[in-house]
């Protein structure tokens, strides 16, 4: 399937700081891609470059079949963008805000009215259409902000942290609308810090860290490949000393808790109890934490920082 978005070797630096260090990315029609990463990973820079707001230092971008760097104007016609900062015209009504961007996208007459109505309905701002944006609450304004990007149903939608500041209801509605867009064959690049949203959207994941894609795939694939099970042992008193081999498992001690990162939680639990001998009686609780997107995220991004900062993390071979 021909991707709607094809990014190759994208690089961008601000002075001596590298924001993107060679990003490759494909997004297929109807695919929702969750763009994850810690602050400063390069997510917003990537979205800005894709939106044509910044020029990369190197690399190529194809949107549809258009070279977006050579023909940015044509490429923008295939895009809907909701930047990170809420951007609406405060003195205009929601309807006027939406109509303006729909008109710029070439809609008019009945098609324009229907587009405004359907997006407003999907984001539940129909009752607010004749209210000025400055009179809206923060969450309502955020919904309007997203609506402006979606009003012309573009083939590629870039949403940069769209649910920041939105209440639970607004978040659910937006996620639902994103899902509907994808089912209508629009590709969605969705940058967020809320990992549960990625799971709810059944999105594939691109994990950015320090300007590089460090993981790409479905949540299930990545969890299976990168995130181990964790067995948490909590003791009544001080944690007993551990030594010897743990079948490749990694041990992490924090207060009265020992976390064993393992692919075989049953085997590791049995081994721990056997090794503790009589001191096993000091165990207050044992919990098996199944891998999730959150543990995957921490495994892939958090570990890097833990390596830099001295801690009690231990690799037991």
């Amino acid at each position: 399937m021909t991707p709607v978005l094809e990014v190759r070797g994208l690089r961008k630096s601000y002075g001596t700081r590298t924001a993107l260090a060679g990003v490759d990315l494909d997004v297929a029609p109807g695919e929702i891609v969750g763009l994850l990463g810690p602050n400063g990973a390069g997510k917003t820079t990537l979205v800005s470059i894709l939106a044509g707001l910044r020029r990369p230092d190197a690399g190529s971008i194809r949107i549809g079949s258009i070279d977006a760097l050579a023909y940015p104007k044509q490429a923008r016609r295939l895009l809907g963008v909701a930047p990170q900062e809420t951007g609406v015209y405060p003195t205009l009504t929601c309807r006027e805000n939406m109509r303006f961007f729909a008109e710029l996208a070439g809609l008019r007459g009945r098609a324009l009215r229907e587009a405004v109505h359907s997006v407003a309905e999907a984001l539940q701002i129909t009752g607010l259409l004749d209210r000025r944006a400055q009179q809206l609450s923060g969450g309502e304004r955020r919904r309007l902000h997203s609506a402006l990007a979606l009003v012309n149903s573009p083939p590629l939608v870039l949403l940069d942290e769209p649910t920041t500041g939105a209440d639970v209801q607004a978040r659910v509605q937006l996620l639902q609308l994103v899902g509907e867009l994808a089912s209508d064959r629009s590709a969605v690049l969705y940058s967020t810090h809320y990992l549960t949203e990625i799971e709810q959207l059944a999105a594939s994941v691109v994990l950015l860290d320090q300007g590089r894609v460090i993981a790409r795939g479905s949540v299930e694939e990545l969890v299976a490949a990168h995130a181990p099970n964790i067995v948490e042992f909590t003791f009544e008193g001080p944690v007993p000393p551990f030594d010897g081999a743990w079948h490749g498992a990694r041990l992490e001690v924090e207060g009265a808790t020992v976390r064993v990162h393992t692919s075989q939680p049953g085997v590791s639990t049995a081994a721990m109890i056997e090794r503790l001998g009589p001191r096993a009686a000091e165990i207050r609780s044992i919990e098996v934490v199944r891998p999730s997107l959150e543990t995957l995220y921490l495994e892939l991004t958090g570990r890097r920082y833990r390596q830099e900062i001295p801690s009690e993390a231990t690799n037991v071979a």
């Binding site: 963008v81 951007g87 405060p90």
Partner: protein
């Protein structure tokens, strides 16, 4: 450049201006007030320059109109600045509109406002002249009106 998109931006700018009309209204009314104050000073200058029948309106009217016209056109730059304040600038740049369409779309309403200001100022000055004879006393009224318009075009 798409005429339809440019007109959409022009309409949008008029809408924005309509929600906050005070700056433009002030720049239309302000020269009328200033003319009343400046006319005697200009009269003295013109009389001293060898125009014994001048009453000051010959310079006060076009001079103030042009000066305030510049202020209105200067508001175009403020229109871009406002987009930054509202965080809509990046959104607008990422839209289907080209840079040229955005610039023309934002400039046209200010040019129209400037022309409207000229018309209002001259219309009021000429009406005043015809009604009260303040603009010209001895020369033809039509000639005075033409003089005002010609002074304006020379100044701009």
């Amino acid at each position: 450049m798409s005429l339809r998109r440019t007109l959409a931006i022009v309409r949008h700018e008029f809408r924005l201006a309509g929600r906050d009309p005070l700056p433009i209204l002030i720049l239309v009314v302000f020269p009328l007030v200033m003319m009343a104050f400046l006319k005697p000073a200009f009269r003295d200058v013109l009389v001293a320059s060898g125009y014994p029948h001048a009453n000051g309106a010959e310079q006060a009217v076009p001079g103030d109109a042009v000066l305030n016209g510049f202020y209105i056109v200067g508001m175009t730059s403020f229109a871009f600045f406002s987009e930054y304040g509202w965080n809509t600038w990046e959104r607008l740049r990422a839209s289907h509109a080209s840079s040229a369409e955005i610039i023309v779309g934002k400039a046209v309403p200010r040019v129209i406002a400037s022309v409207a200001q000229f018309l209002v100022v001259f219309a009021i000055a000429i009406c005043w002249a015809f009604t009260f004879g303040a603009l010209c006393r001895r020369s033809s009224r039509w000639c005075s009106a033409l003089l005002c318009v010609s002074s304006c075009s020379e100044s701009s």
